[in-house]
């Protein structure tokens, strides 16, 4: 089967796989070569004819990303490919990063592209779900398994043929949700999933978006720590002077508490629309535990409480908005030299 017939394919490699040299050539400038090189010949054997190979030294790309990208993208654009293949980079960190970034930029420009690397390669994160990435082993021994999958995906992308889900096809999940028509109604599918789960097979049609962050190192010396209070419970000064939205909040606020021993009900209120605030508004310390935090400072258990608390309403808030607010608050806390955070949620 000649799946490569009539297709223009560009292949990206690093200096090593392009035959330019090993680590001593890692500063090699971007080059453009005719026809398949190295692993490109394996792609050929799998039916994917490589017209042009572009390559770059791993260090050169890592240290001069903007210039290298511009050169490579310029060449690729002029080649007007039907599909681009990046790698496989296997477990190589710098090469994987270059493949992930180049594939991301091509994907965002609408150029069909397939990369291949280990699932824990920095290139996967750098790619941000913009391209299909075929998982490989950490070493080159996985070439034989990776090539047929790369060639199959690449030839279909080049032809504009449909590509199935990550689970069906074996590429790494891209974090995209695609509407599909199912022959089975939702209730039937839900019952099927419950029955499967009872049998020990836990599946989902829609994986929740997850943001996996390793636990930061523990606090070494709490008695000297500057601790910040943060909440999504919608606590604000009485009258809600800055009009914190009661739901769908896309802003966070901060209020001074340096001269406060507690959040007194005559001074603070929760405007959160997602729960019954009656009990909390009789004593807002039930949401933002300032009185207890002061007691721990007095007892020498923690050093100090930060002079401001941070607040928003977490109700009907998209994860993307929560993530952005978390990053913004995190940056403020970092600037303030905060050692640890007590976050309360309702």
């Amino acid at each position: 089967m000649d799946r490569g017939a009539g297709m223009t394919v560009v292949h990206y490699l690093n200096q090593f796989f392009a035959g330019l040299g090993g680590e001593e050539a890692a500063d090699h400038e971007p080059v453009r070569l005719d026809g398949p090189q190295g692993p490109g010949k394996a792609l050929e054997a799998a039916g994917l004819h490589v017209d042009t190979t572009v390559a770059c030294g791993d260090d050169r790309f890592a240290l001069n990303e903007g210039d290298c990208l511009a050169t490579l993208l310029g060449w690729i654009e002029r080649a007007d490919p039907d599909v681009v293949v990046c790698g496989p980079s296997f477990g190589s960190g710098r090469y994987g990063y270059a493949c992930g970034v180049l594939a991301r930029e091509l994907g965002r420009r609408g150029t069909p592209v397939v990369a291949a690397m280990t699932p824990d390669s920095p290139g996967v994160l750098a790619n941000e779900g913009a391209a299909y990435i075929v998982p490989t082993t950490a070493n080159v021994a996985g070439m034989r398994d990776a090539v047929p999958l790369i060639a199959s995906l690449a030839s279909r992308l080049a032809a504009g043929a449909p590509v199935g889900t990550a689970e069906e096809e074996g590429y790494l999940p891209r974090g995209l949700r695609v509407n599909v028509r199912s022959a089975h109604r939702g209730a039937d599918r839900a019952v099927d999933l419950v029955l499967a789960k009872l049998a020990g097979d836990v599946r989902t049609e829609i994986a929740p978006p997850t943001d996996r962050v390793s636990p930061p190192d523990p606090l070494a010396d709490p008695a000297a720590a500057l601790v910040a209070l943060v909440t999504e419970a919608g606590c604000v000064p009485q009258g809600n002077p800055d009009r914190l939205p009661t739901r769908h909040a896309n802003v966070w606020l901060r209020y001074p508490i340096a001269d406060r021993l507690e959040l007194a009900p005559e001074d603070y209120v929760s405007v959160h629309a997602g729960f019954d605030t009656t009990a909390a508004n009789r004593d807002p310390d039930r949401l933002v535990p300032l009185d207890a935090a002061r007691a721990l400072v007095a007892a020498g258990r923690i050093g100090r409480i930060h002079d401001e608390f941070f607040t928003t309403t977490g109700v009907d808030t998209p994860v993307a908005v929560s993530t952005r607010m978390g990053q913004e608050i995190g940056a403020e806390l970092r600037n303030a030299g905060i050692d640890a955070v007590i976050l309360t949620g309702t």
Partner: protein, 72 residues
């Protein structure tokens, strides 16, 4: 490199799902750090205990998405 953070919430399974790492189970959704059924002094004592537990967790090496009870 992050700032150690402890999340006090009555919904620890949701906290785990979104990837929080240090989680202390709060008293209730509507009052995670309080209990209106207690006398004022007892409630403050409970709140101090919750925070003391939270500080313990901040000083502990934990596996990702660990949940601690208030009295553990």
């Amino acid at each position: 490199m992050g700032i150690p953070t402890v999340f006090i919430t009555a919904l620890p399974t949701i906290a785990q799902m979104v990837g929080a790492n240090r989680i202390v189970r709060g008293v209730a959704i509507t009052h995670p750090t309080g209990d209106p059924s207690l006398a004022a002094g007892d409630e403050l004592a409970l709140r101090v205990r919750i925070l003391d537990r939270a500080i313990d967790m901040l000083t502990a090496d934990v596996a990702p998405r660990t949940v601690w009870e208030i009295d553990g």
